[in-house]
Structures are given as structure tokens and as C-alpha cells.
């Protein structure tokens, strides 16, 4: 029973349920036409985009060129390293010029208690040593 209402016939979709090959090709033509004519941004807009990109860009890392002295200082260990090296050099020089009195005796004892004085400029000394 339909209470006197007319039943609406559903639309016949049998013709469009499966796309025909011909219609498929036509749709591909439409896609191809759309692909060939993409919307292009104008130059003014591109310039604004470039300005945005540059404004957002992180700052480049600054590479300072170092002098030879700065490079040596860095290898040694900065000012502390240089100070230590200078002190060691000064102490060595001082010991060479004016050794403390006890050190000479210690060296002689370590060498067996004999001293050997060699004057490389005097051939007489050599002759005396050989007898």
C-alpha cells in the first residue's frame, strides 16, 4: 500500500554507472587542457615571496679568517699555554747560564766520579790523554 502517493522512480544510472571509454578520453582531454594552462603567480607576487624567504632565512654562520699567530696560539692552548712555554724557556736558559753549584757535583758522581775536560780546539790535550 502506498496511501495514494506516487512512488518516485529512481533515476536510471545504468548509462553512467561505468564510464565509457569515449567519455573517459574526453575527460582526459579536459585534464590535459587544465594541465597546460596552470595559473601562474605574477612577478610582483614572486618578488614578495622571495622577500619573505630572505627575511625568514637563518643568518649565515660567520667564518673569521685567523692569522698565523692566532692559529699557533690556538694549537698551544691560548695565552695560558704561551705563558707556560715562555716560563719553561726562561728557566732552561737560566740553568744553562748559571747552574746551581750542587748540580755539577751530582752530574760528576752520576758519571763515575771522573771528570773529563775536552777542549776540541787543542790537539795538545789529545796527545796528553793518549800518553
Amino acid at each position: 500500500m502506498n496511501w495514494g502517493l506516487k512512488m518516485k522512480t529512481p533515476p536510471d544510472t545504468s548509462l553512467t554507472a561505468q564510464p565509457s571509454a569515449e567519455f573517459d578520453a574526453e575527460l582526459d582531454d579536459l585534464f590535459a587542457a587544465a594541465k597546460q594552462t596552470p595559473a601562474m603567480p605574477d612577478q610582483g607576487f614572486l618578488a614578495r615571496l622571495e622577500a619573505d624567504a630572505l627575511a625568514q632565512m637563518p643568518a649565515p654562520a660567520v667564518r673569521v679568517r685567523q692569522s698565523l699567530w692566532q692559529q699557533i696560539s690556538e694549537v698551544i692552548g691560548g695565552w695560558k699555554g704561551i705563558g707556560g712555554l715562555a716560563t719553561a724557556c726562561a728557566a732552561g736558559l737560566w740553568l744553562g747560564i748559571s747552574p746551581p753549584s750542587g748540580i755539577e757535583t751530582l752530574i760528576i758522581e752520576a758519571m763515575g766520579g771522573e771528570t773529563l775536560n775536552v777542549d776540541p780546539l787543542s790537539s795538545f790535550d789529545f796527545a796528553m790523554m793518549e800518553g
Binding site: T16, F23, E26, L27, L30, A33, A39, P41, F45, D52
Partner: protein, 197 residues
Amino acid sequence: MPFDAMSDRDDEDLLALYATGDAAAARVLTQRLAGPVYAHAVRMLCGDRSEAEDVTQDALLRLWRAAPSWRKGEAKVSTWLYRVTANLCIDRLRKRKDGPALDAIPEPEDGTPSVNARMQTKARNDALQDALMQLPDRQRQAVVLRHIEGLGNQEIAQIMDIGPRAVESLTARGKKALQDLLAGRRDELGFEDEDAT
């Protein structure tokens, strides 16, 4: 690095250079990416160029901000950008109460010499755009990416965050819906004439 030498570098390399403060990389990336992003936004937004410009600007700004923390090999720059663009477009479409009048769709730029051919191209583009705008957002996005931008199903799946089979289903349903929508306009679009010849 000189501008020309950068043309051969891929997007990821250029983005890494951009993150180190390379201005030439910024220019090349802008020139390379702005066009496809803008064209996609125009398609998704019913030809509204002003809104498409806003979306393009927003999408690229997001890319520039993501550049320092970009992890190489995780996603293609273009895929990421299409995804951001599509999401921005869908957000805007959802906020719209009424779409723009179809007459507001600007005339596509094309270089066809004949007036008739130009008019027919315009009619076809308008008809396609009109039909596309009647599709649900996700179907339209899938159809545009597949059939107009020419991307593969795998990349579309990444952009839309769905599986490749879902992409196939969306594009098939979208294409079928377009055929239904355009069925009555074949004569107007010049297809009946072509059949007759």
C-alpha cells in the same frame, strides 16, 4: 654558490643550504616551488587567485620556518608542501559560507593562437573547474593531484595521509562524478562536434 649551479640541486639540498643562510638557495626554491603551490591552491579554491596567493605565502612561510629542523630523507619537500597547501585550502573552504560566483573564475592564461580554440579552451577549463568544485574536498584534492598535477598514487597517499588504495578509490569516484556532472555539457564543450567529424 651561483644561481645557475643551483638549478641542478634537488629541493632537499637547497633547503639545507637555505638553512645555512644561502640567499641564492632561497631564490631558486621560491622560483621552483611557488608556481606548483599557487596553481594547486587556485584549483582547490575555485579559481580565487587572491586567496590562492594567501595560501601560497602561508605554505612557503611554513616551509622556511621548518627548514632549520628539516630531517633529510623523511619526506620530499614538494610532498610536504602539497600537503600543507591542501590542508590550508581545505581549512579555508570549510570557513567559507558561500563559494564565489562561477563568473568570478578568471580566464586561464593560454597561448593558443585561434580565437575559437582559445574560447573553447576557456570553456573547457571553466567547465572542469565548475565540476571540480562540486566534488567533496578530498575527492577534488585526489583528482587534482592525480590528473592535473600528475602525481603518483604513492605520493598522493603521503600528501593526503591515506593508503594508496584509498587514493585509487577517491580518484575513481571523483572521475566518475565529473563525468556525470559534465555529461550534459558535451555539446557546449565541443565534444559532440568532434564525434561528428
